[in-house]
């Protein structure tokens, strides 16, 4: 029977899998949590981090769930003792590579002052991690109750790069999971960054190890959204935005006709950051530089705040009542004297459907002309 051939047992429960499905995919579909770091949806799994390892009956070693295909009658345990032990070790190693000074690394058994000093020694600065509380590695350290004390810190090999308007690359926090590289090359296909050098010197580099601003990077920020830790962060919101203080509102990008779904992150009634909405069409989390970083106009001091009426060649502030009465009066008079077709209306590709509908209704039903168009073809 077909069903018999597609059966996998995870943590004692039987599930049916689809052809070509991985263990991770079956687990996720059935709400079984397997932690991942390097696995990035829509790309070919690399198996780089091994945090997703699971125990498969009959296998000689633990297998990464993200890149191991489900097979018939497979028996899997996702949180067995060996699995947990392996994950703890991986997390400990990651925490000791570079600078993970989020009070997860190196805080136990020492007093706070000593901790601060250690932080400064590691970091070259007193800066705590900017993504504190919004980091997959930190989450895992909490979940598996480990810190970075077990191994000596590897220190910091590469200085931070901030020479562009949008993205800070903090190599000291990079865990070399490779998600950014996949995001850039397999999702956005911008081919701007890659894994460079080898062994202990491994670094994520743009061609020729140049700064992003002199590379093929187009600042789509896909890599930032993919980075599970604080190695790639938005320059603008760094240290300004605390994620638990922000609200995320899903809306539609106001730039081009792709209509990407995005979250506006709002803190104190201000849009402080934008991210793509994963898993939802049309963009499935991807954005471009305008959608992700072009939000400053919203809060610009140059926004118009009051109705303005021109008098003797210059504008003065007016109340709504005054301005609206003036507009209605003038349009009414022109309509009466020169006929409805002496008035034209331009509506906009930037306003909503509802507003476009209202503008055409106004033009046709109140002004009584069909002189309505928009500039979008221009």
């Amino acid at each position: 029977m077909a069903e018999q051939q597609n059966k996998i047992t995870i943590n004692g429960h039987d599930f049916i899998f689809e052809p070509d499905e991985t263990i991770l995919s079956v687990a996720q579909r059935n709400s079984i949590d397997i932690p991942t770091l390097c696995y990035l949806k829509r790309t070919i799994p690399t198996g780089a981090c091994r945090i997703c390892v699971v125990e498969v009956k009959g296998a000689r070693s633990l297998l990464p769930a993200c890149s191991t295909p489900a097979s018939n009658n497979m028996v899997v345990h996702t949180e067995s003792a060996p699995v947990i032990e392996a994950r703890r070790l991986i997390i400990q190693l990651l925490l000791s590579s570079g600078n993970h000074n989020c009070a997860i690394r190196g805080s136990d058994g020492k007093d706070w002052t000593q901790f601060q000093l250690d932080v400064q020694k590691d970091d070259g600065s007193g800066e705590l991690c900017p993504v504190w509380g919004d980091c997959r590695l930190q989450d895992l350290a909490y979940k598996y109750q480990v810190n970075g004390d077990k191994f000596p810190s590897t220190g910091i090999r590469y200085p931070m790069e901030s020479a562009n308007p949008f993205i800070i690359r903090d190599f000291s926090r990079c865990i070399l999971c490779g998600r950014c590289v996949q995001a850039c090359n397999e999702v956005q296909v911008n081919n701007a960054i890659n894994i460079g050098y080898r062994g202990a010197s491994t670094k994520i580099i743009a061609a020729g190890d140049r700064p992003l601003k002199d590379s093929d990077c187009v600042f789509c920020g896909e890599c930032v959204q993919a980075c599970p830790v604080g190695a790639l962060v938005e320059k603008e919101s760094r240290y300004k935005v605390r994620h638990w203080k922000t609200d995320k509102i899903q809306t539609t990008c106001s730039y081009c006709g792709v209509g990407c779904q995005l979250y506006l992150h709002v803190q104190d009634n201000k849009v402080v950051k934008v991210t793509g909405v994963d898993d939802v069409p049309p963009n499935f989390g991807s954005l471009c530089v305008k959608g992700r970083f072009g939000y400053n106009f919203i809060n610009s001091s140059e926004r118009l705040t009051d109705p303005l009426i021109k008098e003797n060649g210059s504008f003065r502030k007016a109340t709504w009542d005054e301005a609206l009465s003036l507009v209605a009066g003038k349009l009414g008079k022109i309509k009466e004297e020169h006929g409805p077709d002496s008035i034209g209306v331009l509506t906009s590709a930037r306003i909503t459907n509802e507003e476009n509908y209202i503008v055409q209704k106004f033009t046709r039903a109140a002004l009584k002309t069909n002189n309505i168009d928009h500039c979008a073809r221009l």
Binding site: C220, P281, L308, W320, S348, A349, T352, I358, I372, L378
Partner: protein, 528 residues
């Protein structure tokens, strides 16, 4: 688009033309790039500039500006001659094939080469590749429409798609990429001189009657009104007296700006409703401050006809208001009361009077958008158009002859100019130029020129050049780039200070009335 954005990844062959996709629709370009790199699709690019997508193309046809009908006819010539077309589709679902065949006959690859400059063999390869695809998608943008022959170009692409049976299937279609976020919605909602919402014609008595009943009015106007490109000349000769402009900045985006500015100054009364003091707002008698997308509830319709929610995230600044509220207030004060409780209530009215939106409601848009046509509340929406039939029954082939662009180069104006956008800015820059980061990446205007032309005219990278057409002149920095092709320069149109549209030609397509932004003749000299 007849198909969806996601559909692009299902195509076996993608024909991309007149779209600098990586700059103008970056996220959509990723779908094309993924299709090519990971799904084995072949890309045919037809573009006068060596744009980024050329790196991904299997075949790049570099046509002379404004010669699109010629290469499309040329492809059809090859496809018909070699009998590569989809006979069943042509027989069952189209009419006019004979006429098309007759016109295509003379567009031999050699004749086409003499017009377009694309090698005859490349054209043959492209034709075979497209015709041989199981599913072939055509994607195009304003490089196709912004010509005096824009309508011809679009119809020709539709001919090509029908000829190969590439309509109504996944991964196929004829897909215009909309430039601005809600162009689709502005059109859907009747922001056009000849139709109400849902493309219901104003000349149709029954439709007018229906709208009159729905709106509680009588005597809705029955003649199609003026298009924007007709309004400007009417303002110039003072037959148009007043303009109410909502959220547009024609003083950077219009062709032949010098003329447009004079025309707008001739108006008796100008009202501009916007979020910034734009170049156009400066000339207004009254400026009304409105809320931006992050401050309002509503919907946008994207290029694939997907209606999606817009949600309020922050309060609008100062006294500014939702655009719809402002317009309703003006209407009410003119004796036509309009008032709604919310944008949701407006959508309820839209769905009542607009068959293609009849099944759309905010409740259904909560998680993700829906593609219109969506005729009933339980209809799933229509991702792919024309799967069974065309709205008019059979698809009509339009036999179309090539007509050269309105303006040609000559001894005085020896170079062609084409205009467009760059990734870091958007339209007239009113929004993007408020971002320091975007400005840092693209601070000022430039003129992109090929290395060969730069040598010929003695320009170094970064020197200031004066660019003049028959209508005006601007100065901009020289940018020598391999993207430019000899004989043609490119200027983005975002920058008001040295607006490319002081140069462009206002010659219009006779039907769409879209100006020929993509071709005009210019000369370059060192700036004083």
């Amino acid at each position: 688009m007849t198909n969806t954005i996601g559909d692009v990844e299902e195509a076996n062959v993608i024909l991309l033309t007149g779209s600098n996709t990586t700059e103008n629709h970056p996220v959509l370009s990723a779908f094309v790039k993924r299709a090519v790199k990971f799904k084995g699709a072949k890309l045919i690019l037809v573009d006068p500039r060596r744009i980024k997508m050329a790196d991904f193309a299997d075949i790049w046809l570099r046509q002379n500006l404004g010669t699109d009908v010629a290469w499309i006819n040329g492809m059809m010539h090859v496809i018909i001659k070699e009998e590569l077309y989809d006979r069943t589709f042509v027989e069952n679902r189209t009419t006019g094939f004979e006429e098309l065949r007759k016109v295509a006959e003379k567009y031999t690859p050699e004749y086409v080469e003499s017009i377009t400059g694309t090698p005859a063999n490349d054209l043959i390869d492209a034709a075979r590749l497209y015709a041989g695809a199981k599913a072939g998608a055509i994607l195009y943008c304003m490089g196709i429409t912004q010509h005096t022959t824009g309508t011809d170009n679009v119809k020709s692409l539709a001919n090509l798609a029908m000829l190969c049976g590439n309509l109504g299937i996944r991964g196929g279609g004829v897909n215009p990429l909309r430039g601005q976020n809600n162009v689709q919605g502005a059109c859907d909602m009747g922001g056009l001189p000849d139709v109400f919402s849902g493309y219901q014609k104003v000349i149709d008595l029954g439709t007018r009657k229906k709208m009159e009943d729905a709106w509680g009015v009588t005597g809705l106007p029955d003649k199609p009104g003026l298009k924007v490109t007709e309004m400007i000349p009417k303002a110039h000769d003072k037959t148009l007296k007043a303009l109410y402009i909502v959220g547009e900045n024609p003083l950077v985006s219009d062709p032949d700006l010098n003329h447009a500015e004079k025309s707008i100054k001739n108006l008796d009364f100008l009202v501009v409703q916007d979020i910034f003091m734009t170049e156009t707002a400066q000339l207004a008698d009254v400026v009304l401050p409105s809320a931006c997308f992050a401050e309002k509830e509503g919907t946008f319709s994207n290029t694939e006809r997907r209606v999606q929610r817009v949600r309020r995230a922050v309060d609008p600044p100062g006294d500014s208001k939702d655009d719809w509220k402002i317009t309703c207030e003006i209407a009410s004060r003119m004796g036509f009361p309009m008032s709604y409780e919310s944008s949701r209530a407006i959508m309820e009215e839209i769905s009542k009077v607009t068959p293609s939106y009849a099944g759309i409601s905010y409740d259904r848009l909560e998680e993700e958008g829906i593609h219109w046509p969506c005729p009933t509340p339980d209809h799933p929406g229509t991702p792919v158009l024309h799967t069974q039939a065309f709205p008019i029954g059979k698809g009509v082939f339009h036999a179309i002859e090539y007509i050269p662009p309105a303006e040609q180069t000559d001894d005085n104006y020896p170079l062609y100019l084409t205009t467009g956008r760059i990734i870091y800015h958007y339209h007239t820059g009113t929004m993007t130029m408020k971002s320091e980061g975007l400005n840092e990446r693209a601070p000022e205007n430039f003129v992109e020129i090929s290395p060969a032309d730069a040598r010929k005219y003695g320009f170094d990278n970064g020197t200031m050049a004066k660019i003049a057409s028959r209508r005006g002149d601007i100065t901009a920095k020289i940018r020598i780039s391999p993207a430019a092709v000899r004989g043609t320069v490119f200027i983005p149109f975002h920058f008001a200070q040295s607006a490319a549209n002081k140069l462009t030609n206002a010659a219009l397509d006779p039907i769409s009335k879209i100006p020929e932004y993509k071709v005009c003749a210019v000369k370059l000299s060192k700036a004083a």
